[in-house]
Symmetry: C3
Subunit: 205 residues, 3 copies
């Protein structure tokens, strides 16, 4: 059980590391800037989650997460050497898979630490969104999370699905939560969905 969660967590870290490396490539960063951006993206959200919950930060006693980041960054770099062009869509999809992982995992860790379900949904969203937010702030992009297309909303839906279903079966809850976030986010990117709160003032941007 915990074993499955551990591997899913590692996979989420690796995918966010890929997303950080891809942005570093688009921004023409070199050398270690890539590793820094990959690491911040991959473990930033989880670090903030653990700090706020008062838990030991997950990577301080386990080096495996860094090997995972290094491997993901190196494979991405080598792959980019043989393909000179990387489309924006690839970055968005890598990011979507990453947030799907982390929204459910963040909710799971919060519930296991004994916090109420409402906080679990919020912490799942923070785990999922803040790594990418740090990545975008450091690379001087407008954070994806603020640009609409249901970004934060999909994380909230995924974390809420997990929190609702976890009493029945944790692995089922994880599968449904991740699928919900990923499907919604990919559909939102594909069809350019957005919440219409300020839509009429957006016409004259």
């Amino acid at each position: 059980m915990d074993f499955a969660f551990y591997w899913i967590d590692l996979a989420g870290v690796a995918i966010f590391a890929v997303s950080g490396t891809l942005l570093a490539f688009r921004k023409k960063m070199d050398g270690f800037g890539v590793i820094v951006l990959a690491s911040v993206t991959a473990i930033g959200g989880g670090t903030i989650r653990d700090l706020i919950l008062g838990l030991p930060v997950f990577w301080t006693h386990d080096q495996t997460y860094f090997y995972s980041i290094l491997m993901a960054a190196c494979i991405t770099i080598i792959w980019l050497r043989y393909r000179s062009y990387i489309p924006m869509t690839t970055l968005l999809v890598a990011d979507a898979v990453g947030i799907a992982f982390f929204a459910a995992m963040g909710a799971q860790k919060t519930l296991m630490a004994g916090f109420p379900p409402f906080i679990a949904v919020i912490m799942g969203t923070i785990s999922a969104c803040f790594g990418g937010m740090l990545r975008d702030v450091l690379a001087r992009d407008v954070p994806l999370v603020l640009k609409g297309e249901l970004y934060a909303t999909t994380c909230i839906v995924g974390a809420a699905c997990y929190t609702l279903l976890v009493a029945i079966d944790p692995l089922l809850a994880l599968a449904v939560g991740m699928t919900a976030t990923l499907t919604l986010r990919l559909l939102a990117i594909r069809f350019r969905w957005s919440l219409p709160v300020f839509s009429d003032s957006q016409d004259n941007v």
Copy 2:
């Protein structure tokens, strides 16, 4: 006593949420970007204060803060629907009221946790300034706190007033501290006061 502080804290959170929502409107963000920016502004400073002091983060066991943010953001959005224009001054004033609340409350919480008065003044300033700083960094504005007009100075004065007077009467200290910050900041905005440290080099900006 604690009851009064609790409501003042909630009011401060709501006012900062309004200030985050107003900036999101000016930046033409849509949907959940608004909620994210409102939340970061409203609870960012207090979260950093609690993390640094090693206290449990104030909103992890109390959902009321989030209801307060959601209500403030919704009311602001509905109000903006009926007024297409929002002057910069409104944003500055909402921000000024927010920092007045948080500078005094931050000093109060630090003293109650047993830290020395000097640290209480600094933590009051951090509580007040960092929420708005995160807001401005995420929205890619130059942080207000770095643009002068006595921003951080007013927080330091308010937190210092509270720290000096708290031995006499906590509610009096709170009232004086908040009034000091608010008055100074509004006067500074009105008359464009600034500390003249680098003023001669500002002529040729």
Copy 3:
């Protein structure tokens, strides 16, 4: 022993405060914006290190660090009054001395708290890089750490030297670690070294 470390720590804080003040000067900030930027640069990296390690944040029980920041900022400001021009190189060198201090000190504090050597190297790098990263994000520069010239690499080398040699003699380890970071970084600035990972795509920036 601890006494020596304490003074070295204070010196590192003061040097980073100078680097923050210099950037504030270049960006034509006035008054307290300078103090905020100097403080964030000087204690930001160490604060994040202590939060992640779950230690009490180093400056919350010792006001000396703030006197050190204030003194460093004031001396820098007074010095700048008599020299209207400040070359970019001075900023880079002040920054290089700061990261040399903090990379070794961060590794030392992590090892003393009982964490494994691998984490000590990472925390040394974080201590050294994150203060400057926060400084650059707040001042809206591209963070130095992401711009190459071996920035993060030099911190890793310095922290690794300290971690390897500390079993022999802590002060020797500190001297070698700091010298390694400083020498590498100054050479990298002088000769514009960089890791060649994405170099071929940099031709058409």
